[in-house]
């Protein structure tokens, strides 16, 4: 088990990190958020997988001009949640899919594709999952 500062430093070295933030967690170990630029996300996800990280889920948050994607990994050995944060522009909401390196991401990415309209390049089967196959409207979770 490594301390927060030590683990944050390790992540800074092993991941193509831009910024590492530490956020408080009541009654437990601090949560670590690592900012990654969108083109590096697959490499970062692969490194997290190799560090023993299990992908919990991906949260998509909408902002005025961009989408924020937060990939939550659980490092079970360390007892830590490490989240990778990246952003994509709303005008061209595309990011590389991490499904080729983490099989479990397939459904999670399909859900975000359905509800926010973010495209995941290289996803083996980016079909409708939550929405009906013939859905034509706007992605329903978008506010604009």
């Amino acid at each position: 088990m490594t301390g927060t500062a030590e683990l944050a430093e390790q992540l800074r070295q092993k991941l193509p990190a831009e910024e590492v933030e530490v956020k408080p967690h009541m009654g437990g170990k601090e949560r670590i958020f690592v900012s990654i630029s969108a083109p590096n996300i697959v490499e970062a996800a692969r490194s997290m997988r190799d560090l023993g990280g299990r992908l919990s889920t991906i949260s998509c948050v909408e902002h005025l001009s961009l989408f924020e994607l937060i990939y939550h990994f659980s490092l079970d050995q360390e007892g830590r949640v490490v989240s990778l944060r990246t952003t994509v522009k709303k005008t061209n909401p595309e990011v590389d899919s991490i499904t080729p390196v983490i099989k479990g991401a397939a459904f999670i990415e399909r859900e975000i594709h359905d509800l926010f309209g973010v495209k995941f390049r290289g996803h083996p089967s980016l079909k409708r999952l939550i929405l009906p196959p013939r859905w034509k409207g706007e992605p329903p979770l978008r506010k604009d």
Partner: protein, 382 residues
């Protein structure tokens, strides 16, 4: 290759799911899963409700493990607000969570018995689940949707006068669950061994959690890995299997019922006195992650706030969401008659209804009723 479509309204599953099974003879050669038939837009609804209201909203995500979603949500909000909850509230949260695990696992075992035609297992496990629901009724006023969680603690206290009754029930479970396990094993073992195998590699690759992953030998349990509530102060073991088959999943769940009894006995003995809910002011802008071990695995809520009394974004990921895709590999190479119990083995929420459409190579369709499917499942050699 002939394709058999099951669902979207699936016999014995109350959450509609569509399965497309490619079969050769009676052997499953390929499986595809489709979900989304019961999407209720809870994440969107949550953005229009206050933190207090969202707690009740997310309690309604699942009818079986209804406590775990509010538990995750309030933990995420407490992280954002920096709210320290009282010791007694931590213990009460643990007690409710463990009672829920017992009732959920016993419910699962009963349904597994029912699917396989071992009605004595069904009747007995539901018989022992009943007193657990009685405790919920006594403590929370509800047998389901307990409404106990709240930001800052819990809504209701457990009165000392209830404790003897809870201890009595735990005694009963400690005595009867091993008997039930023995009975379930003798009637189901042959049928469950070696079917629906999830290898350790696949359990990790598909990011599975909970009993599904533990049965495959992945010793991951949110209660130990990311301790919350009173778990750090209580002793219990992670129950894990090795084979990854449906039998191993059954053994893990039965083992966990006994571990839950152990946790409850300690929690009731050490239940600290004091307040049950902390006071707090406005929730500042920020983000928080709430994690808890649901009976089915890790549940995670991500909450983003903007300084108002409503979440700006609330992402919910229930454990079945990551366990379900693993069925694609668990079903491969198994017999069609085992498909029902394999789908059931990951413990998606249960109920009954409807029919299965069987399509053969010529595109002819045959509708199978729930009874026919059940008969097929039960008539397979025990």
């Amino acid at each position: 290759m002939p394709v058999i479509s099951i669902g979207p309204v699936h016999p014995l599953l109350d959450e509609p799911v569509a399965l497309r099974l490619e079969v050769e003879g009676k052997t499953i050669k390929g499986a595809e899963i489709e979900i989304g038939h019961i999407h209720r837009g809870i994440e969107k609804l949550s953005e229009r409700m206050t933190f207090e209201q969202v707690t009740f909203l997310v309690e309604r995500i699942c009818g079986i493990c209804s406590n775990v979603h509010p538990l995750c949500f309030v933990q995420a909000v407490e992280d954002i607000g920096g709210i320290e909850i009282p010791e007694r509230a931590k213990y009460i949260r643990t007690i409710i969570a463990e009672l829920e695990r017992i009732h959920s696992h016993l419910l699962w075992l009963g349904i597994a018995g029912h699917i396989l035609g071992a009605e004595e297992v069904f009747l007995k496990s539901w018989k022992y689940r009943e007193p657990v629901l009685d405790i919920f009724e006594l403590v929370c006023g509800n047998r389901q949707n307990y409404a106990m969680m709240a930001v800052g603690g819990v809504r209701k206290d457990i009165s000392p006068s209830y404790i003897p009754k809870i201890i009595e029930t735990l005694k009963l479970l400690r005595e009867k669950v091993p008997e039930l396990a023995e009975e379930a094993e003798s009637s189901l073992k042959k049928r469950l061994r070696g079917i629906g195998v999830l290898t350790r590699e696949n359990a990790i690759a598909y990011c599975t959690t909970g009993p599904t992953a533990r049965a495959a030998g992945v010793a991951s349990d949110t209660r130990k890995v990311h301790p919350y509530a009173a778990y750090p102060e209580l002793e219990f073991d992670i129950v894990k299997g090795e084979e990854g088959d449906v039998l191993a999943q059954t053994e893990v769940r039965i083992g966990e019922v006994l571990q839950s009894v152990r946790i409850l006995e300690q929690a009731l003995k050490n239940l600290p006195p004091g307040e049950i809910r902390a006071e707090f002011k406005n929730i500042p802008p920020g983000e928080g992650i709430g994690l808890a071990e649901a009976p089915r695995g890790e549940d995670i809520h991500y909450v983003r706030t903007n300084g108002t009394n409503m979440p700006e974004r609330h992402k919910i990921r229930a454990p079945t969401y990551v366990n379900l895709p693993a069925l694609e590999t668990m079903l491969l190479g198994n017999k069609l008659e085992d498909a029902l119990i394999i789908v059931a083995s990951i413990d998606p929420c249960f109920s009954c209804t409807d029919r299965v459409t069987v399509v053969n190579e010529k595109g002819e369709e045959k509708i199978m009723s729930e009874e026919e499917l059940l008969r097929m499942s039960r008539n397979a050699a025990l």
